[in-house]
Amino acid sequence: GAGVSQSPSNKVTEKGKDVELRCDPISGHTALYWYRQSLGQGLEFLIYFQGNSAPDKSGLPSDRFSAERTGGSVSTLTIQRTQQEDSAVYLCASSFGRTANEKLFFGSGTQLSVL
């Protein structure tokens, strides 16, 4: 596709339910990132994938959060037993992953609302 695609664009769930958020990066991009944007807050780094290397999970806020990337392309962010404080916009970004300090291409995000 032309850009980073995220689905769903909006997700409303009940507290305690599990949710899966999907990210389809730009073709050829080997680096993929998940960020979280809470109302009035900056972008909080969650996790980073680069090729076949072990992911950098240092930003995941709790063990309820996990992510995987299949075949070096599509990524899924899973939040188990959702809490109200998980409500935020979850943004995915990708880059070529060839050099340091590359431009990140962001998707439009998934707005998650936990009731």
Binding site: A31, G42, E44, F45, N101, L104
Partner: protein, 114 residues
């Protein structure tokens, strides 16, 4: 030490005026400082970036000023236009071994009045 502090939180400027957004950091290992622009309902997009070996970078109406000794950098938008109304994020990262993991500021919501 990993924080990037951004101010102001919101800014209102008249059309044609200068918009100035400031950021400060503590980690002296940071050596890449991009600014991202985000319109409502969209993801952030890279606007302009600077490395600390220069004190200023200009692209069209957008200028980054960088003060390494003060550990501060700022975005100046000259001749601000209503179409510039958006949220702006400064960010920083460390180049050697950098994974592209950016540390973002809290964001500044800019409104340019016609």
């Amino acid at each position: 030490q990993q924080q990037v502090k951004q101010s102001p939180q919101s800014l209102i400027v008249q059309k044609g005026g200068i918009s100035i957004i400031n950021c400060a950091y503590e980690n002296t290992a940071f050596d890449y400082f991009p600014w991202y622009q985000q319109f409502p309902g969209k993801g952030p997009a890279l606007l302009i970036a600077i490395r600390p070996d220069v004190s200023e970078k200009k692209e069209g109406r957008f200028t980054i000023s960088f003060n390494k000794s003060a550990k501060q950098f700022s975005l100046h938008i000259m001749d601000s236009q209503p179409g510039d109304s958006a949220t702006y994020f400064c960010a920083a990262s460390v180049a050697p071994g950098n994974t592209g993991k950016l540390i973002f500021g809290q964001g500044t919501t800019l409104q340019v009045k016609p």
